[in-house]
């Protein structure tokens, strides 16, 4: 496990010293995180890293996971898709079951703590248990793209969100008209994790060999869990358009979260779209395949993230941190990470993605410059140390009304 001081060589002493100073101001307070999955997906990944680091900074931070069966997670998957704007119907009975599971969890959990930090919609109704007398502050952290949510689903959730003290979103467009404080906090990546740490060429080559990928030929990669919103079939169409002109290989690799029952179906559709092309490698990675992801990104000539919707798109930050040229859809938090034609390429279609992919494969000098600028941008704005700072500020903000606070 990393120590907070291990980040000093990456971000500088002054950045870490400032975290200690802020943490001192938060310190007497206990922070209790709650989400719906311990492994798989960006939220669990962030909490796995974040909670121990907050503790090292002296905070009393803990993390609980709510329990649910397949029925509950199918409903929450529908809620997730509806928040992304999909036309999904959630029945009255579904909502009742959703609330029942939340209440069962609340009955079993210790909801004490100075700050309750609830992540995403699955445990949102725990707030029903709030009693104003105990002075506990509640924060709802939304990791989902809610630019165009299905109105009735958002309205239902809003009745719960407005019971919180603050809501946190990952991109400017996700802010809602509501009567509580809203905060923008982008997620982050951990530069020292297995997924992002430096790897030797030997380690990278070993992973390529294991998956039967030719290390001598250009490699285009999309790392994402198998989900319609990540558009794996669209990525294959991009590859097929480019392959007519430029020889390359495609890797589509990712896993599935325990709260995502749709994954296998999407994987099958991708395999069918690839139509047996030996240069298309569709790789289902089990949880914990971080070194494999790291190696595949490092081995890539160009990295794609052709999502149709995106919460934030941490895989973009991961690839940029490795100084890779990235072509990604201008959705969710991706435009925060890429300034078009400066630190990567933003696209809106299969045709546009194919056009820029050809350009970057043909112009390695330009591609390299994009990657280097991207790495610098991630270093300054999207590493876990910046994320920790924002969380410390968020916790402090619950106790101060004014715009300028002297601590």
């Amino acid at each position: 496990m990393q120590n907070i001081n291990d980040y000093m060589p990456v971000v500088g002493h002054s950045v870490i010293n400032e975290l200690y100073l802020l943490a001192e101001r938060v310190q007497p307070r206990a922070v209790h995180n709650v989400n719906s999955t311990a492994v798989g997906g960006g939220v669990a990944e962030i909490l796995t890293r974040m909670v121990p680091l907050l503790r090292q900074l002296g905070l009393n931070a803990k993390w609980d996971v709510i329990k649910g069966n397949d029925k509950f997670f199918n409903i929450t998957k529908s809620i997730h898709n509806a928040l992304h704007g999909a036309d999904v119907r959630i029945s009255k009975e579904d909502w009742e079951y959703f609330l029942e599971v939340n209440r069962e969890n609340a009955a079993e959990m210790d909801l004490s703590g100075d700050i309750m930090f609830v992540h995403d919609p699955q445990p949102i109704a725990l707030i029903e248990q709030r009693t104003r007398r105990d002075g506990t502050k509640w924060i709802w952290r939304c990791h989902i793209d809610v630019t165009n949510p299905q109105k009735d689903v958002m309205d239902f959730l809003r009745t719960y969100v407005e019971k919180y003290d603050s809501a946190v979103f990952s991109a400017p467009a996700f802010g809602q008209e509501m009567g509580i404080a809203q905060v923008l906090i982008s997620p982050s990546i951990d530069p020292l994790s297995d997924k992002n740490k430096e790897l030797s060429q030997k380690a990278v080559d070993a992973v390529l060999e294991r998956f039967g990928i030719d290390k001598e030929r250009r490699l285009v990669t999309q790392i994402s869990r198998f989900d319609y919103l990540k558009d794996p079939v669209g990525v294959i169409r991009v590859y097929q358009k480019v392959k007519k002109h430029i020889d390359c290989q495609l890797v589509l690799a990712g896993g599935g979260a325990t709260d995502d029952p749709e994954g296998l179906q999407v994987l099958e559709e991708a395999k069918s779209a690839a139509a047996g092309d030996p240069d298309v490698h569709i790789i289902f990675l089990p949880a914990g395949s971080d070194i494999e992801v790291n190696a595949l990104q490092r081995a890539s000539t160009v990295v794609l993230q052709k999502s149709l919707k995106e919460g934030f798109g941490l895989t973009v930050a991961e690839a940029l941190w490795k100084a890779k040229p990235v072509i990604a859809s201008a959705v969710g938090g991706i435009p925060l990470q890429i300034k078009h034609k400066y630190s990567g390429i933003l696209t809106y279609s299969i045709e546009g993605t194919a056009h820029y992919l050809k350009q970057l494969l043909h112009e390695p000098g330009y591609a390299k410059a994009l990657g280097l600028n991207g790495r610098e941008h991630i270093k300054n704005n999207f590493l876990i140390t910046r994320h920790i700072r924002d969380y410390l500020l968020l916790f402090l903000s619950l106790y101060y009304e004014q715009d300028v606070v002297s601590l």
């Binding site: 300054n380 903000s397 606070v405």
Partner: protein
């Protein structure tokens, strides 16, 4: 005996206001009602978030007008407002409102869906760091080591947001009798260079006077 210089640092928490603009009229409307911290955020965040970039987009309003609405001339009018000449956010807000009000209403067009301007604001936390300088030599030594947030606080925040007449470094140089150094620093426009270059330029000036 002169007062030593105490270094501070700052951090911003970004607030979403749930208010957006599709065109210049809505931008004007929003600009009139957002808190001053929103004007501050949209004219200063680029300095910190893109502190390695040069040239930098001068502010969010100009960037949106140029790149989303394709109103290059209006964007240039925003970009060329000399932020360093304004004493506070209300003066700056009035200047922007004046520019937008003089823009012909017949030219108003909506941006593409999903490309709206989202008004944000920030909550700023200021706290002391452990560094104290008693003379120019110590000052230079510390300036090399502090974060860009600390540099940013003493140069931008203290003057513009806390409405002091000069930045903290100038004020201290003057207080220790280094009037010429203070004068030289006052001529520097910090809005047109990156924070690291600014650190380098201030260091160079200070070292020259420290050697006297």
């Amino acid at each position: 005996m002169h007062e030593p210089f105490h270094f501070y640092t700052e951090s911003h928490l970004v607030r979403l206001l749930g208010l957006k603009a599709r065109n210049t009229l809505e931008l004007l409307e929003g600009m009139k009602k957002v808190p001053a911290s929103s004007i501050y955020y949209h004219t200063h965040r680029f300095l910190q978030q893109h502190h390695y970039l040069s040239p930098e987009p001068p502010n969010d309003f100009a960037y949106w007008l140029a790149n989303i609405l394709n109103l290059k001339q209006l964007a240039e009018a925003f970009a060329s407002v000399d932020t360093v000449d304004f004493k506070n956010m209300e003066e700056l807000r009035a200047e922007f409102i004046g520019i937008l009000e003089s823009y012909p209403v017949k030219n108003v067009v909506d941006c593409p869906e999903g490309q709206e301007f989202h008004f944000m604001a920030c909550k700023t936390f200021i706290l002391p760091v452990q560094y104290v300088a008693h003379n120019l030599r110590e000052f230079a030594d510390i300036l090399r080591r502090v974060s860009v947030n600390s540099l940013y606080f003493h140069i931008f925040e203290s003057r513009m947001r806390l409405e002091r007449d000069e930045n903290d470094f100038q004020a201290w140089f003057r207080s220790i009798g280094e009037n010429e150094l203070a004068q030289r620093l006052s001529r520097l426009d910090p809005y047109t260079i990156t924070l690291e270059s600014l650190r380098g330029q201030i260091l160079e000036m200070v070292m020259k006077y420290a050697e006297h």
